[in-house]
Amino acid sequence: MGLITTVNDSSATPLRVPAPSGDASQDSWVTSRLDFLVNWARSSSMWPMPFGTACCAIEFMATAASRYDLARFGMERLSFSPRQADVLICAGRVPFKLAPVLRRIYQQMPQPKWVISMGACASTGGMFDNYAVVQGIDTIIPVDVYVPGCPPRPEALMYAIMMLHKKVQTERMSDKSLRREIEPDTESLLYIPPSTIDELSEPFGNSVHQTRSAP
């Protein structure tokens, strides 16, 4: 499916299983202090690129507005240009017609970049299990944090942002594999071919009943 993934792996392992990379003890005191400083700076002022399409975008606006006030996270500067953005917040459903646009915007963002998938539709397709909607944006771009909800409350989005902060704070500059974009490795044991994914995503249980048009 042409999936690009950003992984923390060391490709030397025979199974190519993503493993926690490196060993913190190998880093010197200086680099770890520097990491701390850089990560503190990065996480304290992430410029979001709001890819708002539907209902979740309204809740994103509520989060950015007066009561919830994203400025507390240093995020009040919404970067509508992907070139100046740090975190892509995909808020809302993504139909197939929009898929290449989303991917293009992700590609235009400079590294380091992170993605928050806001809401059920962006994360899994949600209630739109039909011909038009991408079943989760992680089939197009890598995602760091998924926010459940339809739409998620502003508190949920803020929790996701704080989770992302934690993730950023554990990153280390010495980790060479951190921001490498790779194509899915068909040789890996973890690779699932698209046909299998199709099979796995077939309806089951009550949803079989729901895909019949008349009783």
């Binding site: 209902c55 606006m61 507005a65 007066s66 017609k97 209630m127 739109f128 048009s213 008349a214």
Partner: protein, 432 residues
């Protein structure tokens, strides 16, 4: 005649997945016109530029894409592209029972979710031949008017941002948060309410809810007046909106405009007055009508509509009767939960209603309501089974948007943003 074309793609040139640069020419010039050997004579009046706005652009209110041909800064032609949020609502409605469709109506015009819930069940109830109770009627009026205010608040806030005023957005969103709290107290959700059921409502209003509503009715006009004072006579605001994107009454009717778009052009067409539902003819309210049909009049009409909604809310609070909320019709209304868990007949009844769904007689209905965007109607066709053959949404914003070439052509590029904002588009409803 030299033609110079500048193409601006969705973004600019980038790197594709394989690390190869994506070719997107930023500047294309025609044969020989700008070549060094040819004498270069600038013919500014013949230079046309192709500008692409969207699909991801903050001022398009979603994922609208506009391709504009510019002569200097003047729009000569406009080709809108939609469908970037097409999610197959109408298809999926054919696979769902009537009560199961209600959650989809939330997500289609998501600024006006509770109004859509009411609009849909009005259609479904006519298809079932159900007359709702007086208390339910008044509660639905309250729901629809709250929803109208909610939608107009977002419209006004985002339009302010588009035209360059940020502060009203913050004030208006504060009021919207108060409305969210009210809805949350009633049905448990802020945005996607699913507040109605065929034959009634999902829930009775909780104790003390009316106090919250009364406080909102008291306090909201203050905020509205402040924003009104800040914008209506503001020189920048008027300079950006007066005389922009005007449509005559005949044009607006012929283009199928509805809602504030049509009323700003001087046609007092309001579904609440012309094809009443929910006893709207018994409420005392005025229909705001503009004169020139430009962006400024649309703004004034919407502000006045919010004031009239407050008037309707005041009357509805006064007349809210006691009595049952749901109709006494076992065909559509579930038995009480306590009975469903203790009596076998009620449990079977509950099971059959949930699993098989209520079945309307063969027929078709189209019931229009006045949504904040204009005339919204649900066209339902039943073949006697528990799922509709066709669930058609008549999208007001879709028809309103289709006239955007007529409105923007001849105006400046910056006016396109103001005109587009004045249509009050919601892509979820346009693309469905």
């Amino acid at each position: 005649m030299s033609k110079r074309t500048i193409e601006m793609a969705v973004g600019t040139a980038g790197i594709d997945a394989y690390g190869q640069p994506i070719r997107a020419p930023l500047s294309v010039r025609s044969q020989g016109a700008l070549a060094l050997e040819a004498p270069y004579e600038p013919e500014l009046e013949s230079d046309h530029m192709l500008i692409n706005i969207g699909p991801q652009h903050p001022a398009t209110h979603g994922v609208l894409r506009l391709v504009l041909e510019l002569d200097g800064e003047t729009v000569v032609r406009c080709v809108p592209h939609i469908g970037y949020l097409h999610c197959g609502f109408e298809k999926i409605g054919e696979y769902r029972q009537y009560n199961q469709i209600i959650p989809w109506t939330d997500r289609e015009d998501y600024l006006n979710s509770i109004g859509n819930n009411v609009a849909f069940v009005l259609g479904a109830e006519r298809l079932f031949g159900i007359e709702i109770t007086p208390r339910c009627t008044v509660l639905r009026v309250i729901a629809m008017e709250l929803s109208r205010i909610m939608s107009h608040l977002v419209w006004m806030g985002t339009t302010c941002i588009d035209i360059g005023a940020f502060t009203p957005f913050l004030w208006l969103y504060q009021e919207r948060e108060n409305l969210y709290n009210l809805l949350e107290g009633w049905v448990g959700a802020r945005l996607t309410t699913t507040a109605t059921r065929v034959g009634g409502m999902a829930a009775e209003i909780p104790d003390g809810w009316m106090d919250g509503l009364n406080a909102f009715i008291r306090n909201f006009p203050k905020t509205l007046n402040e924003s009104d004072k800040m914008l209506s006579k503001n020189g920048i605001w008027m300079g950006r909106t007066v005389g922009i994107g005007a449509l005559t009454a005949e044009e607006a009717i012929n283009c199928g405009m509805s809602g504030a778009m049509l009323r700003a052009s001087g046609v007092a067409y309001d579904v609440r007055k012309d094809f009443p539902y929910l006893d709207y003819e018994t409420y005392d309210f005025d229909v705001a009508v503009g004169t020139s049909g430009d962006v400024y009049d649309r703004y004034l009409v919407r502000v006045e509509e919010m004031r009239q909604s407050i008037r309707i809310l005041e009357q509805a609070v006064q007349r809210l009767p006691d009595g049952p909320l749901n109709v006494d019709d076992p065909r559509v209304i579930l038995p009480p939960k306590t009975k469903a868990t203790s009596q076998m007949e009620s449990m079977i009844h509950h099971f059959k209603l949930v699993m098989e769904g209520p079945r309307p007689p063969i027929g078709e209905v189209y019931v229009p309501v006045e949504s904040p965007k204009g005339e919204k109607g649900y066209y339902l066709v039943s073949d006697g089974t528990s799922k509709p053959v066709r669930w058609r949404i008549r999208p007001p914003a879709f028809v309103n948007l289709s006239a955007i070439p007529r409105m923007v052509e001849g105006h400046l590029l910056s006016d396109v943003i103001a005109i587009n904002a004045s249509i009050d588009i919601v892509m979820g409803e346009i693309d469905r």
